[in-house]
């Protein structure tokens, strides 16, 4: 299985990642996910800063990709996560999974996002015109993770 992981300030191109995943021999399905900066609390959001733990972040993302591989037959996994200052509507995260069959690709993509949300060391700080605050973790993310841990 091909695993590609990147933590970067630069934007990414979903089409290029898709083309790369499509080169994977024997793959009959590709599922991709993109997460964007959304204005959660008000209309005054000016942007957010994503902090991470260099070194651990890349390792955590690779571990998650290989954990997915141990559950489903996967041809390739690409995970890209941006860090630094991002404006509303900017792309934050890309996950792409190529597999022989769609069921594995759909499940693995959700699995990777659920683990990333709970275990990859990224932290969001939102900036509004009035203040800045660290985003709190959500119980719904823990619930989403729990469904895979049985």
């Amino acid at each position: 299985m091909t695993v590609f992981v990147a933590v970067q300030t630069d934007d990414f191109c979903q089409a290029s990642e898709y083309d790369e995943l499509r080169r994977n021999a024997g793959c009959g399905a590709i599922v991709t996910f993109c997460g964007l900066v959304r204005d959660l609390q008000s209309t005054t959001l000016s942007g957010m800063t994503l902090e991470h733990y260099p070194g651990m972040t890349e390792k955590a993302l690779k571990d998650i990709a290989y954990k997915a591989k141990s559950r489903w037959e996967l041809g390739a996994v690409h995970i890209i996560h941006r860090v630094g200052y991002l404006k509303p509507n900017a792309q934050i995260v890309f996950v792409g999974v190529a597999s022989a069959h769609r069921a594995a690709a759909f499940s693995a993509c959700e699995f990777i996002m659920d683990y990333l949300k709970n275990q990859a060391p990224f932290w969001k700080k939102e900036h509004t015109t009035e203040a800045e605050y660290w985003v709190a973790s959500k119980d719904s993310d823990k619930v989403a993770l729990a469904r895979w841990e049985h």
């Binding site: 955590a60 996560h81 996002m113 990333l116 949300k117 060391p121 990224f122 932290w123 660290w134 973790s137």
Partner: protein, 82 residues
């Protein structure tokens, strides 16, 4: 033993500290280290009162995990990426 301790995000801001090189003589568990650090002042109580996560050498760990000489230990709030 010498260990390297790092703090991130809200915890880093609350402590006013990003990184310490620490000569640690206590019991070699994350739980014991949390208690030693918590004695440094009110802000440091977050290490035992909150939901702060811990990692040893870039891997998330539980409170019973064992620390060794030269390890990089990190404490940080629950993650919010994605």
């Amino acid at each position: 033993m010498q260990i390297n301790i790092r703090f991130f995000a809200l915890l880093r801001e609350q402590l006013g500290c990003e990184h310490i090189e620490f000569d640690y003589q206590g019991e070699r568990t994350i739980a014991a280290l949390r208690h030693t650090l918590a004695a440094h002042g009110d802000a440091w109580l977050a290490l035992i009162n909150g939901n702060t996560l811990a990692a040893i050498n870039h891997t998330l760990c539980q409170d019973h995990a064992i620390i060794s000489e030269g390890d990089e230990v990190a404490f940080f709030p629950p993650v919010t990426g994605g």
